[in-house]
Structure formats: C-alpha cells, structure tokens
C-alpha cells in the first residue's frame, strides 16, 4: 500500500473525523460533553470548563492536521506522528498514574484496549507509513 494510496485516505479521514468531532464538542459545549459523553466523566471530578476547552483544542488541532493530510499525502507522516505523539504521551500518563496508584487497581485492564492497544496501532501505522514513503522515494530516485 503506497503512502499516497486511497486506503490511507480512508484511515486519515475517519481518524480526523473522530478528533474533529470530539474537539468541537468539547470547545462548543463543555457542559454538554461532560454530561452526555457515554461515560462517567464526572467520576473524575467536577467540571472545569476551561480545562475541557484546553483539551478540546488539542483534539481539534490533531483533527485539522489529519484532515489536511487526507488531501496532501506528503503531509501524512507529519500529521500521523503529531497524533501518535499526543496519544502516546497520554498512554504514558496512564502508565505513570497507574503505577503511583492515582488510578484505581486493575485500571490497566480497562486501559488495555482504548489507551494502550490503540496507541500501539498508531505506532505501527506510523512506521508503516514512514517505510512506504521511503520506498516511494527510493523508487522515484532509482
């Protein structure tokens, strides 16, 4: 699968849509997001609208970068590394908070899929995309 291929476009478009939707929701109506996200976000503590908007900004920026990458194949690796860095850093925060006991015992079981496995998927995709781009460059120069 070449780095400019259609399947990559599908991956980037869907990933962008999720980030844009979540980011816009957090920025537009933090209170609605806090209550209506299908989860018990309030279990983490009271709403801080400012913090929700802060986090919404990064989701929005990642979504914008990924959306640009849908139409600009040469920007895809940069955008994917940007997103992977954020998701990877978030996973490391979970590791740290689990080890020091801030997150409850057994938390890693819940985090395994949505936090750790999906971050791993992003790392694999980043490596794959980087290799595809290298292969493409080699083919053009050769």
């Amino acid at each position: 699968m070449t780095s400019s291929g259609g399947p990559w476009k599908v991956v980037f478009a869907l990933f962008a849509a999720g980030n844009l939707a979540n980011g816009l929701w957090m920025l537009a109506n933090p209170g609605h997001w806090y209550i209506h996200l299908p989860a018990n976000v309030p279990g983490t503590g009271p709403l801080n609208e400012h913090f929700v908007r802060d986090i919404g900004c990064i989701f929005l920026l990642i979504g914008v970068a990924l959306a640009i990458a849908v139409f600009r194949p040469r920007f895809r690796l940069t955008a994917l590394l940007f997103a992977t860095s954020f998701y990877g850093a978030h996973a490391l925060v979970h590791v740290y908070d689990s080890m020091r006991g801030l997150l409850p015992p057994g938390q890693w079981r819940y985090d395994l899929g949505p936090v750790y496995a999906t971050t791993l998927v992003l790392i694999v995709l980043s490596v794959w995309l980087a290799r595809s781009q290298d292969a493409g460059r080699s083919a053009r120069s050769g």
Binding site: N22, P30, G31, Y34, N40, G113
Partner: protein, 130 residues
C-alpha cells in the same frame, strides 16, 4: 480483490481510530469510575451533599445564588425536569439550567431554603436546608 481488502482493512482501522477519543472515556474504565450505589457521598463541587431517596443533590451556596447538582444513585449527573427554591418563606423561585447545573437566585442574607426538584413523573423531591 487485494485493493478491496485494503479498503476494508483501512475502514476498520479508521473506525477504531475514529472512536479513540471517545473510547478513552467511554468504556467504564479509563478516566471513568462509576460508583457503586450509595457508595459515594462526597461533595464534588465544594458544597453540601444531600440524599433524596435514590438521588443525590449537592448544594453550593453563594452570596446571592445556589447551584444544584443532581446525580443518580451512582453519582451520574442528571438534568432535572425543573426545580425551584423558596428562601425564608418567600415564594418559590424557579431554577435556571446553566451549562451543567441548575442555578437559583437567593435573596442576600437568606437563611433557609426549601428545594423542590422534579425528575420524571410523580411528585417533586423536596428538602429543606439547612
């Protein structure tokens, strides 16, 4: 055939990635900690937590208003159908929903409030505080 499979795989991977921001908060784990019924009676907004049957109501008193945070038996937040409060035998004042909580105006210096909260059908939940 190979090309079609690539698109299917890309769609599956894409959908997983699409859901990622929401999955963080949505699988009962992650950042989420649903309390067992009646196991969590801590105030989360710096106010007073009160029980109303299977509901929790946290009152945060300010000089000229009171914020009401309603939650269910497991502390999941709820938006009441409506609510009102009467202070020091004055007439009830309806609450206003603001962002994520109900807010009711309070006369400055008022001592006691009688709160009424409507959730679903049936009579309102009522309590007097303090």
């Amino acid at each position: 055939m190979k090309g079609a499979l690539a698109y299917v795989a890309a769609t599956v991977v894409g959908l997983v990635l699409f859901a990622m921001p929401f999955l963080w908060y949505g699988l009962g784990g992650g950042h989420s900690h649903v309390a067992a019924p009646h196991s969590d009676h801590g105030a989360r907004h710096g106010g007073h937590l009160l029980m109303l049957y299977d509901y929790h109501l946290e009152l945060v008193e300010h000089r000229d208003s009171v914020e009401l945070y309603l939650s269910d038996v497991s502390r999941r937040p709820l938006r009441p159908d409506s609510c009102a409060a009467a202070f020091d035998d004055h007439r009830p004042t309806p609450c206003e929903w603001r962002s994520h909580r109900s807010v009711v105006a309070k006369p400055i210096g008022a001592q006691t409030g009688i709160y009424q909260v409507w959730v679903g059908e049936g009579p309102p939940l009522m309590l007097k505080f303090p």
